[in-house]
């Protein structure tokens, strides 16, 4: 579906829903929202609802980046210290790679 075909109020509504949904541990939703509405928020000539869309897009993008950073750190930490954590590390593991300490 293309957002260009929506009316401005609908765009805002859609953007808002995506934004709100992102709070349910859905950073991917935020990322999609940010990318999807980026053009609407910053490039298209201004219209009434654009300001709000812009806020949503910015917050979504920040949230998604924050999440991304968090996940990457967590994975790095986990990979590094898994073996040191012993049982806890094994319990947390979905797949334990073979042949690696």
């Amino acid at each position: 579906m293309r957002i260009e075909s929506l009316q401005n109020s609908e765009k805002l509504n859609l953007c808002r829903k995506y934004f709100l949904a992102g709070f349910a541990l859905l950073p991917f939703m935020w990322a999609v929202n940010a990318v999807w509405f980026f053009k609407e928020a910053f490039i298209v000539p201004t219209y009434a609802e654009q300001k709000k869309i812009r806020t949503y897009v910015i917050i979504s993008a920040l949230g998604a980046l924050l999440w991304l950073g968090g996940i990457i750190t967590w994975i790095l930490v986990f990979q590094k210290y898994r073996s040191e954590w012993g049982v806890l590390g094994d319990n947390l593991s979905f797949i334990i790679p073979k042949g690696i300490a």
Partner: protein, 488 residues
């Protein structure tokens, strides 16, 4: 399909834009494949002077249709790449150790006659399951049990997006010996699944939607490759494409019935029924059609003058239509998969019994099959309906193009994937090219017969033919040549 493609890329590609203006004229006349997609708008076109365009129309139709088909190449190829890459790198998908309940004959006999017999039985069982599901779907639709259909579709796509994705991820990680913790796994699956459901069944970026559809198609074909015994797979491919032919071309074919019912009710085809790949396409096509239909003169003018801007123009004109159609299309992804009651219990048993994702296999297959068949039928229906809507008198020619939906793609992928599972790149490429050729041929047939055609049979027939000829003739031949150091 073409519609989808076209719409999405119309901005970028000037050619497609060109085609569109013609399309307007074409739609009214007998539509080639191209027409089908745009047919909705067509009815409105009546006022337009067709005569001027008529001669050009045929050429244009061909060109236009060709573009659609060529644009189809991309999703099809992407799918095949995914499948081939997976099959050739992950052994899990090439070992068939567990069978679906639908294929009770294990093909373990050493005599090839017995194996062929088993394969035929298996295929017939699968076919009857598909037919039964299609009938159930039609009955539900006739009875206006929309909720049930929606839930059904939703469940099936949910299953694919979570459970089978989980299986896939597991195998990939295992293959590359990567560690992963439960927390990130849960986060990944949750995000992927929810966004997928939203994109497919509600609203989402077109690109993402297409990617999800491609992924789902690839996943399904992988499942089939894994769980169907060797010969059965080939027979099933053939049987299903024949069934496709029947369902689309038969006057009392199930797809036709669905479309006609939808027309009678004067309602858009049930979104869920629409095939997912079609969804995209249908959405686009719907948009086009809507645009043209509501404001014919304007829309036409727009199309003709600014073919490039079609997308832009559509949104404005089409807004209403656009919104609705996507909804319809989106739900489609899940559509085919009809969770059988039978399959569920079995699945569960297996799940409990087997730790791995293997458990879901049976259900997955059934659903997949069902989905495919349903999807196809839905697609066709949609297409047909769309076409019909626009051009009531014409059978929808474009349907064939549009019909090339996920299920078709899946089957083709299955074919290529299976070919690649034997580890012979010659054969793999031969099949790949054969399928693309089949697509093109379908297009030509559309232009010749000007009638709705199922896209699947030709491609599949070509694919099968090429597969067997390359693997039994060309490959031994080239091997001999290599051994003998003969160069041609």
């Amino acid at each position: 399909m073409a519609d989808l493609v076209i719409n999405s890329r119309s901005h970028v590609e000037p050619n497609s834009n060109r085609a569109e203006p013609y399309v307007v004229g074409q739609e009214e006349g007998q539509d080639s494949s191209t027409n089908a997609e745009r047919p909705r708008g067509t009815s409105e076109n009546d006022g337009i002077p067709r005569e001027e365009y008529e001669e050009e129309d045929e050429e244009l139709e061909l060109k236009y249709g060709a573009q659609h088909v060529i644009k189809l190449f991309i999703p099809v190829s992407l799918c095949m790449v995914v499948v081939v890459a997976t099959v050739s790198s992950i052994a899990f998908y090439t070992e068939t150790d567990v069978y679906l309940i639908y294929t009770p004959f294990p093909e373990e006999s050493s005599r090839w006659q017995d194996r062929v017999k088993d394969a035929v039985y298996n295929a017939l069982i699968l076919l009857s399951v598909v037919i039964a599901l299609t009938v159930v779907l039609i009955i539900l639709y006739k009875q206006r049990c929309y909720l049930i259909i929606k839930v059904w579709l939703g469940l099936s796509s949910l299953l694919l997006l979570t459970f089978f994705t989980f299986l896939y991820l597991t195998e990939v990680l295992r293959r590359y010996n990567l560690g992963l913790d439960w927390i990130s796994l849960a986060l990944i699956l949750w995000n992927f699944g929810v966004v997928g459901m939203v994109c497919i069944h509600w609203k989402g970026p077109l690109r993402l939607h297409q990617m999800y559809l491609i992924f789902i198609a690839a996943l399904m074909s992988l499942i089939f490759i894994k769980y169907l015994p060797e010969y059965t797979l080939w027979v099933v491919l053939a049987v299903i494409s024949i069934w496709d032919l029947v369902a689309v071309l038969c006057p009392k074919g199930p797809l036709r019935i669905l479309v006609e019912t939808a027309q009678e009710r004067n309602e858009p085809i049930f979104p869920a029924l629409i095939y997912s790949s079609n969804i995209m396409y249908s959405v686009l096509s719907d948009t086009d059609g809507d645009t043209r239909s509501p404001s014919n003169p304007e829309a036409q003018g727009v199309d003709i003058s600014n073919s490039t801007q079609e997308n832009l123009s559509n949104p404005q004109n089409t807004q209403n239509s656009t919104e609705t159609p996507p909804v319809e299309g989106e739900p489609t992804n899940g559509p085919v998969a009809k969770p059988n009651q039978k399959s569920k219990p079995k699945k569960r048993r297996r799940e409990t019994a087997e730790e791995n994702g293997y458990v879901g296999e049976e259900g997955g297959f059934n659903r997949d099959w069902e989905r495919e068949s349903e999807e196809r039928s839905r697609r066709r229906r949609q297409q047909v309906r769309n076409h019909m809507d626009t051009n009531p008198s014409h059978t929808v020619p474009g349907a064939a193009n549009q019909e090339h939906n996920q299920s078709d793609i899946e089957e083709e992928e299955i074919l290529v994937g299976k070919a690649s599972s034997y580890g012979d790149w010659n054969t793999t490429f031969a099949c790949f090219i054969a399928i693309l050729i089949g697509l093109c041929l379908t297009l030509i047939m559309l232009a010749i017969f000007k009638k709705a055609l199922p896209a699947l049979p030709i491609s599949i027939a070509f694919g099968l033919f090429f597969y067997f000829t390359t693997s039994f003739l060309v490959v031994p031949f080239t091997e001999e040549l290599t051994i003998g150091q003969v160069y041609i």
